[in-house]
Amino acid sequence: MSAPTFEAEATPAPPRAAALRHLLADPLGRFGLALVLVFLLTAIFADAIAPYNPSAIAIPARLQAPSLTHLFGTDQLGRDVFSRVVLGARIALEVALVAISLALALGGAIGLAAGYGPRWLDAILVLVFDTVRSFPTIMFALALVTLIGPSLETVIVIVVATFAPSYGRIVRTQTQALKHAEFILAERSLGAGPARILAVHVVPNIVGPLFILASMDVPVVITIEAGLSFLGFGVRPPTPSWGTVLNDGYAFIGNTPWIILAGGLPLVLSTLGFTFLGEALRDAIDPRLRKEF
């Protein structure tokens, strides 16, 4: 398993470069990376890319077909669909990043406590995870929207509640596995307390796989956000979201199908891109699949 010193030194490429090479060698990985880059750049430079104010209403120009002035046409209020889709990418990315980071932080902290803490604490926290997880997302969303009303924050709370328990369970299991590792015992024998052990020795050992998992959840969150917004539980009009674009187009699907296509295609492509990239990344970084790591 472990190479003698001189052989290890003979491997020139550091692990990160090797992982990148591996990723780019995979055609699906390249395709995924390209789609994700387009999505990210669109989201970041949305203001510069969008030709019109996405909320500017122009009733006389309503439901126009795609043209050079309006690439994806206009909706029932005469708003430029292309601008709405471009700004929708930003909302999608925002929700995904904020919600997944919060879910990672919350689930991670609780998972560490459950995994490293006493058995009774573990039992309580696992019960909490399972209880929260047993609510179907949509039912939970309905209940929450009834309580606090639909908004971007509601979507984030729903996503955090959906994902934090899964991350928590993963972190808990990994922590439990590491808890009895000999190097943890060795650290304790040198006087390290629980906080130091967790921060310096447990977390660095589990963040890698956890980040890959989280990156594979980005498309799922984007879909959830679009779905909730489509149902009217999420982003409120006039804020542009792929879900609200889909909802607007849905009513006119017979006459003006471009609206629903314009809202749906980016959703499909970004989901596809993130999934391909995530899988390629996992293959590239997982040491069990790579010999030189």
Partner: protein, 322 residues
């Protein structure tokens, strides 16, 4: 002056499925400053349990049933977790058996050695790094300035054990517990690590408790030997005395089994027939009775007490009662 470490009447039980397993029973001995004490016994004799009990790092299923361990007169079992933590690594440090698993695989050696100096708020990161480099050089890591940023998997087993020892010695502990530090290594590396420990004792002036199942290792560097059998101390003696004049039948059998002491033309390896007794059973006889070639009536009826048979030499056997 009191001994550095005094173990007095220590008994440790593990929770068994039906009844507790007595891993250690009424063990008592002490370690003087600057001495190397060997702790010898076969697998399952309680050697590791004893080392972990000193640092109070036993698994949750273990329970100190009786006895005390005093370090410089302070009862370790009465200390708070915080006070213990202040002691671990600072005054008492430990080196473990398997160097392949005692270093964190995802942190560079330097990062771990800098982190382990977390108590030294007075030192800058660069100073901590310099100390780490210096001690790595001391334990014989070639080119430590460059290699300190390597990860554990880039070092060989012997090098990793040196790094573990370096980490344990970082704060010049008064007592170093080395739990089979050479068992996972091959013979040449074993000799190097033993040399290193012997040198280090001279430099660091601390005591070492060297746990081993290998008598050759013990003969090599220890001043004193404690022999454990089935969780009981059966014999303790200065090293030369033990090898020249073993008084307990188990010690004699153990010496006979040492491949290093076999005649060159020996046709077979001697073994000790039988196996360790049931550690869960209450003790009404000598622990070694089932395997003892000299056992007689009294050995089955009562357990022998430790008898002093010479200066610093104690053994527990009915035959010694004269």
């Amino acid at each position: 002056m009191a001994a550095l470490l005094e173990i007095d009447g220590l008994s440790v039980d593990f929770a068994g499925s039906q009844r507790p397993i007595h891993a250690l029973r009424d063990v008592r001995f002490s370690i003087e400053r600057g001495r190397i004490v060997g702790l010898v016994g076969e697998s399952g004799s309680g050697k590791s349990t004893l080392s972990l009990a000193i640092l109070r790092l036993l698994a949750p299923s273990a329970r100190i049933a009786a006895g005390t361990i005093r370090f410089e007169g302070v009862d370790l079992f009465a200390l708070s977790e915080a006070a213990l933590r202040a002691l671990r690594g600072e005054r008492i440090a430990m080196v473990f058996q398997d160097p392949m698993s005692t270093l964190n695989p995802v942190l560079s050696v330097g990062a771990q050695m800098i982190d382990v100096q977390f108590r030294r708020a007075d030192l800058s990161r660069a100073e901590k790094r310099a100390r780490a480099v210096a001690i790595l050089k001391r334990v014989g890591i070639p080119d430590p300035e460059r290699r300190i940023d390597d990860y554990p998997h880039q070092f060989s087993g012997g090098m990793r054990q040196r790094i573990s020892i370096a980490m344990a010695l970082m704060s010049r502990p008064d007592l170093l517990i080395a739990d089979e530090p050479t068992t996972a290594l091959d013979v040449t590396l074993e000799a190097q690590i033993l040399d290193l420990l012997r040198d280090l004792r001279r430099d660091f002036a601390g005591a070492i408790l060297l746990v081993s199942h290998h008598l050759g290792v013990v003969a090599e560097i220890c001043d004193e030997v404690v022999v454990l059998y089935a969780g009981e101390l059966v014999e303790q003696a200065p090293v030369a005395e033990l090898f020249a004049n073993p008084r307990h039948p188990y010690t004699r059998a153990l010496l006979d089994c040492d491949p290093g002491r076999l005649a060159a033309d020996a046709q077979s390896f001697p073994t000790i027939p039988g196996r360790l007794p049931d550690l869960g059973a209450p003790r009404t006889a000598c622990v070694f009775v089932a395997r003892c070639p000299l056992a007689f009536e009294r050995c089955r009826a009562e357990a022998p007490a430790l008898t002093t048979v010479g200066p610093g030499h104690r053994a527990s056997c009915h035959l010694l009662d004269g």
